[in-house]
Symmetry: C2
């Protein structure tokens, strides 16, 4: 099953809310480079630029092992939140 399928299966039951989920994985060749923490704040800023979200409706999870750094951002968007003009 492709990753897309997993997103669909996890769909939040009541569709009254919109939901934005971002998964970022960085397969590192060297231990030093860690893009995930560098990109995290900027991706959050890009989202906030376009959608009105409450900070407490944004969940951020980071995970890191020997080779892979992972970032998961889960944003619940209130139904009446309009897209901000870019």
């Amino acid at each position: 099953m492709s990753i897309f399928g997993l997103f669909r299966k996890q769909r939040s039951a009541p569709m009254a809310r919109e939901r934005l989920q971002i998964l970022l994985a960085h397969e590192r060749a060297s231990v030093g480079s860690d893009l995930v923490s560098v990109l995290r704040e900027e991706i959050l800023a890009v989202i906030a630029k376009h959608v009105q979200v409450d900070r407490d409706k944004v969940q951020v999870k980071m995970d890191r092992d020997k080779d892979v750094s992972m970032l998961e951002i889960d944003v619940e968007i209130p139904r009446d939140a309009t897209l901000k003009a870019a």
Copy 2:
């Protein structure tokens, strides 16, 4: 299996390359709002700001059905590509 597990399983065999994969899913309540195309260019710009990548090493896939818009960005980072100072 969590989505994180899927990322690990798909690890590219030779670790000579670094790889950055971003999946974005927008569960829409209304048909109109389509965050994915709005966020796509800005997320690509955030990545390019921090990592030297060749445009032809960046694959972007978009997928959309009744409720969910999906974006997958797959970036192959040359081993010697240094992180740009933010």
